[in-house]
Symmetry: C2
Subunit: 381 residues, 2 copies
């Protein structure tokens, strides 16, 4: 539902993003409202995440025990993990807060002698996120006390049993770092000629799977400590239907086109082939079943709602391939440019990829219905 | 003990600062480590505030009931109000936190079956403070969870009964805004020919007194809500011994010299006299007795320790007037320049003020022993 400063959506039909932090350090999004801009990207994320809004409201109304939570604490604490700087986070968190207030009112009668608790909302993102912009954008008449929390959500961010609801959207599919196996030429997971595990040998895919599992373990362990019993966690992330190879998703096709364009350019001497081999996107799309397995393994959460959706259900008509590539470019150019260098190389890479994808537009459109967005709503036991 | 982004120390012997926010909006401090720099200013504040350190540790050891506080909450929450971006806030808050841990250990035996609580530290400053710099400067191995809170401490910042210790240093002497009476030519408090209430008629002084009282009321009301019963508040601010006019303090002499230099320049046609009349520093130095009166009026706090000190006790030898003026310039030039314009005017203003002050160096040195730093340690009833 929002873009983090160091990630960005890769396609109108998919919320893929990238964490430049994991590769080369910070990569600010482009400003303004143009085609290449961050705000346009965050608009797509917003539209895709809105698909989940009603489901989240339903789970809060049905499964969150506000009466119990507020009987223990006079402050209800919410956290948005991977909040970025944009306005999406304010809209989302206020929506969730209002659903919690409604649930409170439906549960507590005046006879309960309880007063509506106060709310505190923590906005978290990596330490290099632009918190100054976030803070100056805070709504003036907000019904909560706001705080910013810098740091990786793969580590602890809050005191034990202090948070009542965690929300995280379009963030968990970013790996905390590239798997080490990808970074040594002599290992079987050396990802020669590709920029991602799409269409890669099993060793490469396994390295990504294993890193995602480690990251999710750390994430769930930390949140299990921080959430109060009965507290809730809402996670929206990019995923993939089980048993479909990533190369059959539109985003996978995009990555394959970029890999192939870069290799063409290497053959023509425009770039060095070794540059392609050593570049990898730290992005992993899990299946719902895979995510469920990791939640079960953690053991601290009840799964209240687990489902996958088509994040592009709101899009009308066929995908405009050129526009899609422009969005990818807006989101990822900085990251590629740091590794591959010149603007000319970027021009070539995106132009060639656009051509390759245009040649497959029917196939891409036929794959746009895939349920590549995961929603998981968990409750702390 | 630290400089806020919109305040700065005015003198080696006095922690006067200014809030450009209250006059014209933001005024970033100068970067770097040079003579005019923010870091040099924050060094003086640090040295002056360190005078209070031992007293604060003593009050925590004697008066703070950590056993009781931690029996109610497994998280102990601290807040530094007016934290700025510098490293002073980290050193101070960690020192206070360690004193609280020691007190906990002295109170709780293993038989109490309590474990050391976790600590969360909130760093607060105005919304235009540079939180990005603050967050990237956070110590790596900090024994607490950190959060930033943007907003004015004259309003509520935290949920009710959620904070256990508040610290604020070199911030409370800044008014939230200029008194309205100063801003109308037809009012008796129109401060003609001066930049401050130093040497001003009673009406001007009263307007400042009244604004300080309003601000302190709002501050104490908000903190009374936010602090838990038994929670503590440490306040360090610039003040003045009772019955001494501000014009008899070194800083007051500085302000008078600046006023007088500006009026000379107006007479020479370098600036417009109206510009001097309409400029006022929103800084007020209260006496300890005045502060006590406001705390009593609020009624929610016990005064555990109230005293005044000479903030320049650590300075060796006589004041170097030129250096002092350079510091003032570093701290305040931006604010003056916004109102008075050109760099040439600033050069003239500070050069003339330095000359006037040099002519009075014996008198300034004789007044450097004044107890112009207030410490108030309060406990929430």
């Amino acid at each position: 539902m929002r873009a983090r400063r160091y990630k960005a959506e890769s396609a109108p039909m998919n919320g893929d993003q990238n964490s430049a932090k994991a590769i080369t350090g910070s990569m600010p999004m482009k400003g303004g409202n143009g085609t290449y801009s961050y705000s346009m990207n965050s608009y797509y994320q917003k539209k895709s995440a809105e698909i989940e809004k009603e489901k989240i409201m339903e789970v809060i109304a049905e499964k969150l025990d506000m009466k119990n939570l507020s009987s223990v604490s006079n402050t209800i604490r919410l956290a948005d993990l991977g909040c970025s700087t944009g306005t999406n986070t304010f809209v989302t968190m206020q929506g969730i807060l209002e659903a919690m207030q409604q649930k409170y009112q439906s549960q507590c009668t005046p006879d309960d002698h309880q007063t509506m608790p106060e709310f505190q909302v923590f906005f978290n993102d990596l330490v290099l996120n632009d918190f100054n912009t976030l803070f100056t954008s805070l709504p003036k008449d907000r019904p909560y006390f706001a705080a910013g929390v810098p740091g990786s959500f793969h580590d602890r961010l809050f005191p034990e049993s202090s948070i009542h609801l965690v929300h995280t959207s379009y963030a968990l599919h970013w790996l905390s770092k590239l798997p080490e196996e990808l970074q040594n030429k002599t290992f079987p997971a050396w990802n020669k000629g590709r920029i991602h595990y799409t269409s890669a040998p099993k060793e490469v895919v396994d390295a990504y799977v294993s890193q995602f599992a480690k990251d999710m373990k750390n994430f769930l362990d930390a949140r299990a400590k921080e959430l109060v019993p009965g507290g809730m966690m809402v996670m929206i992330l990019t995923g993939i239907p089980r048993s479909i190879p990533y190369s059959q998703t539109p985003t996978g096709m995009m990555y394959d086109s970029i890999s192939s364009s870069l290799m063409d350019m290497a053959k023509e001497g425009l770039i060095d082939e070794g540059q392609v081999d050593s570049f990898n996107l730290p992005f992993y799309a899990a299946s719902l079943e895979e995510l469920e397995g990791l939640v079960v393994k953690n053991g601290c959460f009840i799964m209240e709602r687990m489902e996958s959706s088509n994040p592009a259900a709101w899009l009308k008509g066929p995908v405009d391939i050129r526009q899609w590539v422009m969005h990818i470019r807006a989101a990822m150019e900085g990251m590629f440019a740091r590794h591959f260098g010149s603007h000319e190389v970027m021009d070539q890479m995106f132009q060639r990829s656009a051509q390759k994808l245009s040649d497959q537009s029917d196939l891409i459109n036929s794959r746009c219905h895939l349920k590549t967005q995961l929603l998981a709503v968990l409750k702390r036991k």
